[in-house]
């Protein structure tokens, strides 16, 4: 009999799936074309910003759970697992943001990539959390790994707002360089607004589902280890006998 929690996760998964399908359908067939965008490319509006948003949410969650892990009263390995799971999903969505952004940039700007500060810092964020994941993968005592990863997550996340502030600052100083986020001045109305909202909600649900699944997987691995531990201890305690 699946537990209440796992049923909830399954429900969230289905909702996310339906939501994403609905977003795509609305985006492709219902919402109008916008002026200034070559054939229907505005439709990326319904997936690209939600993906970027989800990435931030994921990193924020990794930050929060790392903080909770480090705080002595709430120290718990579950927060460590949550941080890892969330950061992993965040990296996936940062990657998707980069890909959809590039796909969008090619027709709108004529290039796949440009050294716009926002783009560059998004890519840096991607690498930053790849580093965090690499650190997590370095083997060691679980608590030691959790401790150092948590601190790395703190530092990494402090970077996120700083980078984004400095980017807006940069813009105000320089005026927008050769690149202009046309989309930012887009007048969003009616069905477009609803579709965008739906996009945000369903991608957030997708995030929740993925993180929960990843967390569950990590928990299972730990559980397996814990069960293995009794065996390992028994084996270790028997070492002497073998030696005789």
């Amino acid at each position: 009999m699946p537990s209440l929690r796992s049923r909830l996760v399954t429900l969230v998964g289905w909702l996310a799936l339906v939501g994403v399908i609905a977003t795509v359908w609305l985006g492709l067939f219902v919402t109008p074309d916008a002026v200034g965008f070559p054939d229907g490319l505005v439709r990326l509006l319904y997936v690209h910003p939600p993906m970027a948003w989800v990435a931030f949410v994921a990193y924020g969650m990794a930050f929060l759970s790392s903080l909770l892990y480090l705080w002595p009263r709430t120290r718990d390995m579950r927060f460590d697992r949550l941080a890892g799971a969330s950061a992993e999903v965040g990296v996936v969505f940062t990657g998707l943001t980069l890909v959809t952004g590039s796909l969008w940039g090619r027709p709108t700007w004529g290039v796949w990539w440009t050294w716009d500060p926002l783009l560059t810092t998004t890519a840096l964020l991607f690498v930053l959390y790849l580093g965090y994941l690499a650190l997590r993968r370095v083997p060691g005592d679980p608590e030691a790994v959790a401790g150092r990863s948590a601190i790395a997550a703190l530092i990494a996340f402090v970077d996120v707002p700083v980078v984004y502030f400095s980017v807006s600052w940069w813009r105000s100083l320089h005026q927008a360089p050769t690149v202009d986020f046309t989309g930012r001045h887009l007048y969003v109305h009616g069905s477009m607004a609803w579709t965008m909202l739906l996009g945000f909600v369903s991608f957030t649900l997708a995030y929740a589902w993925m993180t929960a699944r990843r967390y569950r997987l990590a928990s299972l691995a730990v559980q397996q280890e814990d069960e293995g531990l009794a065996h390992a201890i028994a084996e270790r305690r028997a070492e002497g006998r073998v030696l005789v």
Partner: protein
């Protein structure tokens, strides 16, 4: 805590004075970075002139990386973590002491390296203040991040490769802020640099604060 910091900084600087690694190896390395990368990015002046500040700060960033690695290499090699943990010193003190030593080394490096750049571009006095201020703030920020991650990576067999990967992306705001501040100062509009300068200061404060708080758990956790 401050007594411990002074003790650690004194020890690190004494080792540095004796081995002269910063002066004989890191400074030439920084110079090589500026020259080489200038070359690689094109001998075209139109490319290089606006990029001078950027190059300078990249060289500083890479040198900070080396200084951090060195800072943990002088701790008893593979036993660095064990040694620091058994020393009985206050972790926050260790952190501040090591940051202090690295910042001192970086400042010397920056002065030497900047001398050339500043002379070439004839910065004004007001500019010089901004240059100095951003050097100080940026060095503290880099030093703090470096020492925290240095402790994270110390004792791991993969530290040579892990440490650069960890430090580089996090240092991006410092690089950005310092480059911009220098840009403005060199261009003769130091007042525009104040925003960037405060960004650097915020950054330095935040990272030093994180380091002071986090260094304990970092060393404690087995």
């Amino acid at each position: 805590m401050l007594r411990d910091a002074a003790l650690v900084a004194g020890k690190d600087l004494r080792i540095e004075l004796r081995s002269r690694v910063a002066l004989n190896q890191v400074v030439p390395f920084a110079a090589a970075v500026v020259l080489l990368f200038g070359l690689a990015l094109g001998p075209d002046r139109s490319v290089l002139a606006p990029a001078a500040a950027g190059l300078f700060w990249i060289a500083v960033l890479l040198s900070a990386l080396l200084a951090t690695q060195r800072s943990f290499a002088v701790e008893s090699a593979d036993g660095a973590r064990d040694g620091l943990r058994l020393s009985g010193l206050d972790p926050a003190g260790i952190f501040l002491g090591k940051v202090g030593a690295v910042v001192a080394e970086l400042l010397v490096l920056e002065v030497l390296l900047a001398f050339g750049v500043a002379v070439l571009y004839g910065a004004h006095l007001a500019g010089a203040l901004v240059l100095l201020g951003s050097c100080l703030a940026a060095s503290i920020g880099l030093g703090a991040v470096g020492i925290v991650y240095g402790a994270v990576a110390s004792g791991l067999r993969v530290r040579e490769t892990l440490l650069p990967l960890l430090i580089l992306p996090v240092a991006a705001p410092v690089l950005l802020g310092a480059t911009k501040a220098w840009d403005e100062a060199l261009r003769g509009t130091p007042s525009h640099a104040l925003g960037w300068l405060s960004l650097l200061a915020v950054f330095a404060v935040v990272y030093v604060a994180i380091g002071v708080v986090a260094f304990g758990p970092l060393l404690e956790d087995a």
